[in-house]
């Protein structure tokens, strides 16, 4: 690709003293252009720079506005009662979002208990076992084909719209149990979580220097223990950031919860019954035609944003000074 961009420099290198005809032409034209249009080129450069700065400002204003509005409107309704009480009658300004906070913690917690171990171990497989050089030939090809398939499917899962994952939770769990349930919500959220954790774990484990593994082998330690006590121990901060990143991602998911946990104004009763969640509550409150409901929506948004920012900040605290690359977004 690079040769098509600067043919003249390539050509000159290969043919020594004599620049080729094409290279000469290119340079001549370029010099002509650069002299002729010097001032116009400089102005174009300036204009592009200004446009870029305007775009940056344009991208930041919405963030400032969102944070400002959420804090301004959210703080106005914050109180102990708001954080702990179940919602009052529709349209009244009594009650709070207690069940939603509780439900988010339970659903996201259960999803993490399912998703984090599976994601981490799947990352361990892709990094430590799928790239093994001890087997050769067709078996090795089969293993690397399997690993690439898993990677591709993880990518496909990451790209699935969350509403489709909600449908999956509905058909696979809600219809099977015949009830909207925490299990269905946790299952759906774990589908979002696993590919993120798996990918981050794999990438982090691959950064552990091979010399550490070799040191373990030379002492006669088994592969299981090398993986658990040497490789994973060395990569634990990176793996942890991946897990927290995934948790912060699923904590804000709304769409899959509509058809799995349904949402209720009551506190948690059982894992096989419906439960409330913050994003879901925000949606229901925003859809109501009452001022008080909108105020509560902002308050719930403030609580949700604080939870997610706390998770993001903890990722950064863990990663600080350890050379761990943090990406808040996952592709």
């Amino acid at each position: 690709m690079s040769s098509s961009n600067n043919p003249s420099s390539r050509k000159e290198k290969s043919s020594g003293e004599r620049p080729s005809k094409a290279g000469n032409n290119f340079r001549q034209t370029f010099q002509e252009i650069s002299i002729k249009h010097a001032s116009r080129r400089r102005i174009t450069n300036k204009i592009v720079s200004i446009i870029a700065i305007v775009f940056v400002i344009g991208a930041i204003i919405p963030l400032a506005s969102i944070l400002f509005e959420v804090i301004k409107n959210g703080v106005a309704v914050l109180s102990v009662q708001f954080l702990t009480q179940p919602p009052g009658a529709i349209g009244s300004d009594a009650g709070g979002i207690g069940p939603a906070i509780q439900g988010t913690l339970i659903t996201v917690g259960l999803a993490s208990l399912i998703g984090a171990p599976i994601g981490v171990l799947s990352g361990v497989y892709l990094s430590e076992f799928a790239t093994t050089s001890s087997v050769k030939g067709p078996k090795q090809r089969a293993i690397s084909f399997f690993a690439n398939t898993i990677r591709l499917f993880n990518d496909v899962l990451t790209g699935l719209p969350s509403i489709v994952i909600g449908i999956v939770g509905y058909v696979a769990i809600v219809l099977a149990l015949n009830s909207f349930s925490v299990w269905a919500g946790a299952f759906a959220l774990s589908i979002i979580m696993i590919p993120i954790v798996s990918r981050v774990s794999e990438e982090t484990l691959k950064l552990v220097p091979n010399s550490l593994r070799e040191a373990g082998y030379s002492l006669g330690i088994s592969k299981t223990k090398i993986t658990l006590f040497i490789v994973l121990k060395n990569a634990k901060d990176g793996v942890l950031t991946g897990v927290i990143l995934a948790i912060s991602r699923i904590a804000g998911e709304t769409a899959p919860l509509i058809m799995t946990i349904l949402g209720t104004s009551l506190f948690f009763t059982s894992l096989t019954g419906p439960v409330d969640a913050l994003p879901l509550r925000i949606w229901r409150l925003a859809s109501q035609p009452y001022e008080s409901a909108h105020g509560f929506g902002w308050g719930a948004a403030l609580v949700l944003i604080l939870i997610i920012l706390a998770l993001s900040a903890s990722i950064r605290l863990i990663a600080r000074g350890k050379g761990i690359r943090v990406r808040t977004e996952t592709i």
């Binding site: 969350s162 999956v168 997610i308």
Partner: protein
């Protein structure tokens, strides 16, 4: 004293080393077990894929057998009245592509501008904090974008952009000829653009950072300005990565549910086909979210899951295409296993 602690120390060491090395028989069994465990967790992904395909397929089979796949995809009616039930997905496919298209048209140039600023212009003491802020924006849940758009942004966009456009162009161009209300396909597109900017710009930033400096140095040494360097040396080198980033952003916009549900106006049936920029509309995902819990019949539920199947197919095509392009770029970039 000293000899005692040394004794304990060697004792611990012995225990640790015997734990780590273990007996040969245990060890082989343990390794097999662990290998099986991690293999199983990796294979769990395959299991999920099967469940996804099965769930969406089984859920939508009823509507596809009633309307036919082509009939469902090209139909425009959405009638849940018993005895006259008829469902078609076309208006929502158009609504999805139009709102996401607007998001792409606005979001991608802005993201490229942000990435250009971060990589080529800003000194590191500016680009560091700015990257942090932009990644923060990526962490904000879409429901909060929706809340903000519904209660704050829609009034701004109606008063400052839509109404002036309507007043000046409305009588000449039919595309603008509808009195704006603030909850329409245009607003949805703009808020989707705001939502995808953080993702697209941070991936583009990574792609542009991965372009080797020798590319830039060659262009600078020929006397190119900063913009010309990017245009001739950076963008062409990273074009598949940048294209992939844009398509991934498009995929995000296509699949987004909650913020669209709140601001697109939620039209139903043939009227959901946006004929002007300021028409109320509906997307595949927003209709699913709106009606899923209120579905009155099995057929309607099946039709909603059928919309999910159409959405699944669209996003799969988009995502796989984008990933092929990004991975083509990443293979060129330095880094990876050490």
């Amino acid at each position: 004293m000293t000899s005692g602690s040394v004794h304990i120390n060697t004792d611990i060491k012995k225990k640790v080393s015997s734990f780590l090395v273990g007996s040969n028989k245990n060890r082989r069994f343990g390794d097999k077990l662990f290998h099986g465990l991690v293999f199983g967790t990796a294979a769990y992904t395959l299991f999920i894929i099967v469940i996804v395909v099965f769930s969406v397929g089984a859920g939508s089979i009823k509507i596809f057998s009633q309307e036919g796949f082509i009939g469902f995809v090209t139909g425009t009616a959405w009638n849940a009245v018993e005895g006259r039930e008829s469902y078609g997905a076309l208006p929502y496919i158009i609504g999805t592509l139009m709102s996401s298209g607007i998001a792409l048209l606005i979001g991608v140039p802005m993201s490229m501008g942000v990435a250009y600023f971060l990589v080529e212009m800003a000194p590191s003491r500016v680009s560091g904090p700015l990257s942090f802020i932009i990644e923060l924006l990526a962490a904000v849940p879409s429901i909060i974008y929706g809340l903000w758009a519904l209660f704050v942004f829609r009034f701004l966009i109606k008063d400052w952009i839509e109404t002036p456009l309507y007043n000046t162009l409305g009588s000449y161009i039919p595309f603008f000829n509808q009195a704006p209300f603030g909850l329409d396909v245009f607003t949805a597109g703009i808020v989707l653009a705001i939502m995808i900017i953080p993702i697209v710009s941070s991936i583009s930033r990574d792609v542009m950072k991965a372009v080797p400096d020798s590319q830039r140095e060659a262009a600078y040494s020929l006397g190119a300005t900063r913009w010309e360097t990017s245009r001739m040396a950076v963008f062409p080198y990273g074009k598949s990565g940048l294209l992939g980033a844009s398509i991934l952003g498009f995929g995000r916009a296509v699949g987004e549910t909650m913020l669209v549900t709140l601001i697109i106006g939620n039209a139903i049936g043939p009227s959901a086909i946006p004929t002007t920029l300021f028409s109320q509309s509906q997307t595949l995902s927003s209709l699913i979210a709106n009606e899923f819990n209120e579905a009155s019949s099995d057929l309607q539920l099946s039709a909603l899951i059928g919309l999910g199947a159409v959405l699944l197919i669209i996003t799969m095509i988009i995502n796989i295409g984008a990933r092929i392009m990004v991975s083509r770029m990443v293979k060129v970039s330095p880094g990876g296993r050490e």
